[in-house]
Symmetry: C2
Subunit: 134 residues, 2 copies
DNA sequence: GAATTATATGCAGAATTATGCATATAAATT
DNA sequence: AATTTATATGCATAATTCTGCATATAATTC
């Protein structure tokens, strides 16, 4: 009897989908986008990674159909194309008992229009410990 | 001002966890285990992959803490260590509108004790189309 | 139209993962 | 203790992903 490998079509596309998510920066990007449409410079300010690096990760997510972009003047704004992905990330945080992250809420020195509409965002409530910056 | 990368600790461990799952054969294994404690030879019969290959994928899942093994005589039986992983896989199937797989239910010619306790398993209800085997 | 600002792409080397195959171990049977 | 059955490990090569950096594009302002 010849041994035939099972096709595993569904599992293969599921695995490919998970590969899109299996990256810390891409997870962080999706979490940020889950609360707001966001421009690249905001991600840069929030995450501290170089712009070309973030653009590449955004390209991975965009090519994978998870997010979409919209240009407005100078800025390109990204948003979730498939908001239900957040269900998955929530199930994951739940499973791993990781609290939803903090980091993602503050984007000090973000120059984007949305961050500078009127009032500076968190600034006052956030204490910067001595020696944190140089 | 120096740009500091965000730590992304939670996201990093989440990504590592997803990497364990982001593989078609490993997903299939977990789905099979979700319904039953299962020995390696059963997986071999169900999936049609060579035994050493499956043992390697099992080792990945075992090392990652997702499954555990128990020896009984000749056979080693694996079971889910973290049954809530199935929530995640279900959320995923749901998201991708993949029906839960069929393939995984039949393991023709499985020699393991569990498959040969008394009655042949599915045999009768399952029609094998002409020319499916040679 | 030249300079500026925001974002995207290309490419290369490093690192990691996937896969196949030979062989090792471990319990059971004789 | 030799053989058989079930499973695990080691290693080599191929394939893929990661990451950093240089450069390209595209809209805007001067």
């Amino acid at each position: 009897m010849k041994k035939n490998k099972a096709a595993l079509n569904a599992q293969t596309s599921q695995a490919n989908f998970l590969k899109l998510l299996a990256h810390p920066v891409r997870i962080a990007i999706l979490q940020i986008l889950s609360s707001n449409e966001t421009c690249v410079c905001h991600l840069e300010a929030a995450l501290g990674y170089p712009q070309p690096y973030l653009s590449q990760q955004l390209a991975v997510l965009r090519t994978g159909g998870l997010i979409s972009d919209r240009r407005d003047g100078w800025n390109v704004y990204y948003q979730l194309e498939q908001p239900r992905v957040i269900n998955l990330l929530n199930t994951l945080s739940d499973l791993m008992e990781n609290p939803l992250e903090d980091v993602l809420l503050s984007a000090p020195n973000c120059p984007c229009p949305k961050c500078n509409q009127s009032i500076p965002q968190i600034a006052i409530t956030k204490k910067i410990p001595l020696g944190a910056e140089e």
